[in-house]
Each structure stands twice: as C-alpha cells, then as structure tokens.
C-alpha cells in the first residue's frame, strides 16, 4: 500500500472538464455569430424577426464574454485545480469525504448558476458593467460558489503531504484571493425592490458608486479580472502541464519566484490604462500607463521560464501537437502582454481605445493563450482521468493548425481594422473639417469583419474537433493500466 502511487479521485475534475467543453462550444459559437453579425447585420435576425430581441448583437455580446470567461475558462481552471491540486499536494480527494462533498456541491451550484445566468442575460437582466453583468441574486450565488472553491483549495492544502507549495498552487491561491476581493467590491449594489419598500422588479439593483467612481472601481475590477482569470490561473496550469507533459524540469526557480511576486505587485496598479483620456484624474491614468510597461517583465518572466524549460527539446515540440499548443500558448501570452502595454501608452491608446485593435488584443490573449492552454490541459488530463489513450494525434495536429490559422486571421484583421478606424476618426480634411462621418469609418471595416468571422469560425471548428477527440477518448479506446509519467499516449 505505502509504495503504490496514490489513487487520485478525479470525479470533480471530470465534471468540470465536461462543463469546459460544453460552455466552450456555446461561448465560441456565440462569438462566431457576433462576428458574422458585424460583417452581415442580417444575421441579427437569424431566427426570424420574432426572436430578434434575443438574437441581436447587443443581447448576445455579454453572453459571449461571460460564457467564455466565466464558463469555459473558469470551468477549465476548476477542472485543472481538482487535478493538479491533488497531485502536487500529494493527497487524494478520496481521503476526505468533506472535500469531495464540497467539490460536488460546488459543481452543481455552478451548473445552476450557469443556467440562471444564461436565462437572465437572454432576458436582458444585466447591470451593464463589463464582465460583471450579473444582477444581485446571481452575485450572491457566485460568492457562495467562490467560497466553496476557497474551501476546496485551502481544505486540500490543509491535509497535504507535500510540505511546500508548488508554483502552480501559488497561482491558484492568488487567483482565488484576487477574484474574491475584486468581485465583492465591484458588485456593491443596492437592490431597489427592498430599498423602495417593494416597488418594481425584484432583480434590479443600483450601483453604490456613481459615474467616474463607478468607472474607476469597474476597471480596477475589469483589468484585474483579466489578471486573475485569464492570466494567473492559466499560468498555474502551464507551470504544471508543460513540465509534466515534456518530462522537463522547470528552468529556474528564481525566475518563477520573481515573476510571481512581481506580477502580484505590479498587476493591480495598471487598471488605469482602461481609462486613458477619460475623466479620471490624470495621475491615475499616468500610473496605469507606467505600471503597464513595467508589467511586461513579470509577465514575460513566466513565459520565458516555460520556453527555456523546453530548451534543447525541439524534437518534442516538433512531434507533439500537445506541446505545440503550450509553446505557442506562451508565445501568444508574450505577444499580448507586450501588445497590452504598448496600447497602454497614452498616445497609442488615443488611437487604439474604442477600436477593434483592442478586440484583437483581447483575442490574442484569449484564443492564443487561454484557449490553447485549456485545451492542452484537457488533452493532458483526459488519458489520465479516463485511463485511456488519446483518440487521435493527427486530428489534434490538424486542429492545431486550423486554430492557429484562425487566430492569425482574427488578430491581423482586427489590427488593420483598429488602426484604420482610429486614424479615420481623428482625420481632418484640408478645410479643417472632420474628414469622415462616422458611418464612413464603419463601412470601411466590412472586409476585416468578414475575415475575422472566418478566422473565428476556423477556431470554433478546431474546438469542435477537440471536443470530438476527447469524446472519442472517453468512449472508445482500451484501458490504460498504469500511471502515466509524462508524455500523453496518443492514437494515430
């Protein structure tokens, strides 16, 4: 008994893996619909005039952002935690009935939350704040789910056998704390039904902050939601899955350490870059710009650490599509964490803000980094949790190239669209009048919107191939008898 490897219990991981795939498909499908709506407005009534209220761009957009960020991404993060956590802390979920119960409860509450959110956003129940659209009853549910996640993290840590915490665990802890703090403060709101003594809708609330203050709090939140959802936990994932899959040791502990604490310290200060040239004080904006530039280094630290971990291992990169996802993922991470700071420079932001260049930046990060990492994580976990060989390596390789092409089409088209529109807005003609009316700056974007939509469609197709590959893995292949050390076994 003592010398046998621990039997880890992956029940909760499996549940969240399933959720990741479902919400990934839903969220990205909506993304593709949005992209086509901007290129071909007729798509707004895709299910007919009668349902246009529910299928038009503006109703669907928050559904896209929330389902990919808090559906796809968070589920992926949860799945990864319930996998990585046990393994690097050397303790099995099976050892604690309590934690097992908390994990399952968290999943089911989360599933109910997803349904509530989808329904409410379709109905147009929203507070309008980006990435914090949910009305107060859902906020409360989210807080409860988050507390359960906290119990899962610290509970497992509490009964760990591995005395010191692995790098990934640092990042999971930080991700948990960051989101907890941000979410609470940004969602301070007064339900009007109760405050008015029972008038109107029970769902409605009004923000505790007004105007400029509300904007400051919102973007302190919004920026750091990016940090603690799209960055920190994804870094946690790559620190585990890349060395694990490749069998390589982390290049440098010191670099891990400095990048982590550097990131923690610097990230929070950079939120002002969403408010440049707004009515928040000049010094807040300047601070946002400065810290954004400094932020390049701690961000790149982790990425460099990962790339150097693969030092001398080109043959692995060349032969394994799974490793390709992670290496290209860190590359996109570097790209978007250089792009962001450049867009945070005041004069560049004067052009980039409000345009598609920002949307391009967003998707460099989310498609190229977050999406790739989550799929890589699921690919790595699947053979181990289902005890089967991955269904098809060639399918995985095809998927990789299709999606890479998709991302490239997405960001190049948005790059052109953003810079073009930004400049047209500013242009004055020879008489000193505005050179373009607004609509001129819209129609010029049509080709780029079309290219983006095609790119997005390719990415979605790749994702469906991924889902298929995992599905076939679950259901078809022969059983693996032994604990796999590193590289995942893959069928042809």
């Amino acid at each position: 008994m003592e010398n046998r490897p621990l039997e880890y219990d992956y029940t909760v991981t499996k549940m969240f893996m399933f959720m990741t795939i479902v919400l990934g498909i839903v969220g990205m499908l909506i993304g593709v619909i949005l992209a086509f709506q901007l290129a071909y407005p007729g798509v707004n009534t895709i299910l007919g005039e009668g349902l246009a209220e529910y299928t038009n761009f503006s109703r669907l957009r928050p559904l896209h952002t929330d389902s990919v960020a808090f559906g796809f991404t968070l589920s992926g993060i949860f799945a990864a935690w319930f996998y990585i956590g046990q393994r690097v802390l050397k303790v099995s979920m099976a050892e604690s009935k309590f934690l097992m119960f908390i994990g399952k409860l968290m999943f089911w509450l989360y599933a109910v939350g997803v349904v509530a959110i989808v329904v409410s956003l379709f109905m147009g129940i929203t507070t309008s704040k980006e990435y914090a659209e949910f009305e107060w009853p859902i906020d409360i549910a989210i807080v409860i789910i988050w507390v359960l996640f906290g119990i899962s993290i610290f509970g497992l840590i509490g009964i760990r056998r591995e005395k010191s915490l692995y790098i990934s665990v640092w990042y999971f802890i930080a991700g948990f704390l960051g989101v907890a703090m941000l979410y609470l403060f940004n969602n301070m709101e007064v339900p009007t039904y109760f405050a008015s003594g029972g008038v109107g809708s029970i769902m409605h609330s009004v923000s505790m902050y007004s105007g400029t203050n509300d904007a400051l709090v919102q973007w302190w939140y919004g920026h750091n939601a990016v940090a603690f959802v799209f960055t920190v936990p994804i870094v946690a994932m790559i620190y585990y899955f890349l060395p694990k899959e490749s069998g390589q040791a982390i290049y440098s502990y010191k670099l891990s350490l400095l990048s982590f604490w550097g990131l923690m310290f610097v990230y929070l200060w950079a939120g002002g870059h969403h408010l440049i040239y707004s009515t928040v004080p000049d010094w807040v904006q300047t601070m946002g710009s400065i810290f954004s530039v400094i932020l390049i280094l701690p961000s790149w630290g982790s990425a460099i650490n990962m790339l150097l971990t693969m030092k001398g291992e080109w043959q692995q990169v060349a032969s394994s599509p799974l490793i390709k996802f992670m290496v290209l993922g860190s590359t996109f991470y570097m790209f978007s964490t250089l792009e962001g700071p450049i867009q945070a420079i005041k004069s560049v932001n004067a052009i980039a803000h409000f345009t598609d260049w920002i949307v391009g930046h967003v998707h460099d990060g989310t498609l190229g980094w977050v999406g790739f990492m989550i799929m890589a994580a699921l690919y790595h976990m699947a053979p181990r949790v289902f005890k089967r060989e991955l269904y098809s390596k060639s399918l995985m390789a095809t998927q990789f190239w299709i999606q890479t092409l998709g991302v490239v089409l997405y960001f190049t088209s948005m790059w052109i669209a953003g810079i073009t529109q930004g400049m047209m807005w500013r242009a004055h003609d020879e008489f000193g009048n505005l050179a373009y009316s607004f609509i001129d700056t819209v129609t010029v974007l049509h080709p780029y919107y079309t290219i983006r939509a095609v790119g997005g469609l390719l990415y979605l197709v790749g994702f469906i191939m991924f889902a298929y590959n995992i599905y076939k893995t679950m259901s078809a292949r022969p059983v693996e008898e032994y604990e796999l050390q590193n590289a995942s076994p893959m069928g042809a």
């Binding site: 915490l165 802890i173 904007a215 345009t355």
Partner: protein, 230 residues
C-alpha cells in the same frame, strides 16, 4: 523568507492579499468624493428618462456605444464638449463603454431628434445606408418598466441623497426641479405625461395610440433618455 512562506500557506495567502490589496486603495480613494460631485447644469433623471436608461442597459447599447468624449479636437468636433467628471454624478452605473462600434452618444440629444431616433431604431440601415446597427423593432411594442424606474428613484433619493424634488442649479443661474412621484400611481402618471410630449413628435400611429391609451412603449422611454443626453 519566500521558502518559508511556501511552507506556510496561511501566511502565503496573507502576503499575497496584502500585496494585491493596497493598489486599489491608492487608485480609488483619493478622488472618491470629488469625482462624484455634480457640475452645475447636471440634473437627476426623470422617471421616464430613467426607464429609458434601463431599456438602454437591458439591450446593452453600451456594447457598441460609448458615452465618453475624450479631449481631442476630432472628438469635440464630432460629439461636442469633452466629458466632465461631474456630469456623470447621477449615473449609476456609468455607461462609458469600451468599444465604439457605433458613435459616442454622450451628447446625442444635441444633434439627433425624436423622429430621427424613431426611424433609426426601427431600421438603422434605412436611415444610414451601410449601418451595421441591429434594428430594435420590439421596442415599439414592449412596454417600459416605469415601476422599476420609480423604485430606483426612491432608492437613490433615500440612499444617496439624489436631489429629487429639490432645486438644482443650471448654467444660466436658474434652477430646475426634477420631480419624483410620491407614490407608484403618481409616478406612472408623470411618466405618461412626459411620454405624451415625446409621442407627439413621433410618426408611428401604433405608438401614438398606445400612449393615448396610457401605455408607454419602450421606444418612447428610450427616446426620452437619448434626448436627455446633452
């Protein structure tokens, strides 16, 4: 020290929290009070305008439209005076947006009118060829939620002392008093009176009939809100 922290999760977590927590204070607290003081000429929203604002939020117009005019010559030429912090004093939530798929609407009340909005919301591309804005036809039949708007007025008046039924200074030295009903029925009656003024400038017979029958379609509330953006 770090090695020690890595073996003591509780202190590790406290350390992380301290490192991430104080940036927020520095960013937000110093200007908190000042930023929320209204500039002269800014008045709270009337019941109908607020209901329209809810329609705007419900349909996420802010996904495509900003309400923030940056201090650039090209923006003030296009949209009017750059935004001032105090103009947003009664905006809960703020609606600056972060993407301009469509133009800024901070002062759209200055240069677009009721009948134009009516045509435009029904069929944007019919008014502006090449527009990619969706048509919002259901707003002409869905009814605005006046009760909830009134509930919000009561709430902000009580919790944040928003000056309803109190004189508010205007730029020309005069004052304006935005009235709020003393009960739900009165609030609805006041909103309907406002709606009649808007409907008079509209062309669609359905909308006119609805308002005449005491019902307020969402579009009427929305236009009241858009007209108030100045």
């Amino acid at each position: 020290m770090f090695h020690w922290l890595e073996k003591h999760p509780f202190f590790f977590a406290v350390g992380v929290f301290l490192v991430i927590a104080f940036a927020g204070l520095v960013e937000i607290v110093p200007n908190f009070v000042q930023a929320s003081r209204p500039v002269i000429g800014t008045a709270p929203y009337s019941t109908l305008e607020l209901a329209g604002r809810h329609v705007y939020i419900k349909n996420s117009c802010n996904a495509c439209h900003s309400q923030l005019i940056r201090p650039f010559k090209s923006e003030t030429d296009r949209y009017g005076h750059y935004s001032l912090s105090g103009e947003y004093a009664y905006d809960r939530p703020f609606l600056w947006g972060s993407k301009r798929t469509g133009p800024d609407l901070m002062r759209v009340g200055n240069y677009r009118t009721t009948d134009w909005h009516e045509n435009h919301m029904k069929d944007p591309a019919g008014v502006v060829p090449g527009s990619i804005m969706p048509a919002y036809r259901w707003m002409f039949t869905n009814k605005a939620d006046i009760d909830t708007a009134y509930a919000e007025q009561l709430t902000v008046a009580k919790v944040f002392s928003t000056p309803y039924n109190k004189p508010v200074p205007m730029k020309d030295g005069s004052t304006v008093t935005v009235k709020m009903g003393s009960n739900v029925a009165e609030a609805n009656a006041m909103a309907l009176a406002e709606a009649k003024v808007i409907a008079a400038d509209m062309k669609g017979q359905d909308v006119k009939d609805a308002v005449a029958a005491g019902k307020i379609p969402e579009i009427v509330a929305l236009i009241a809100y858009l007209n108030s953006l100045k």
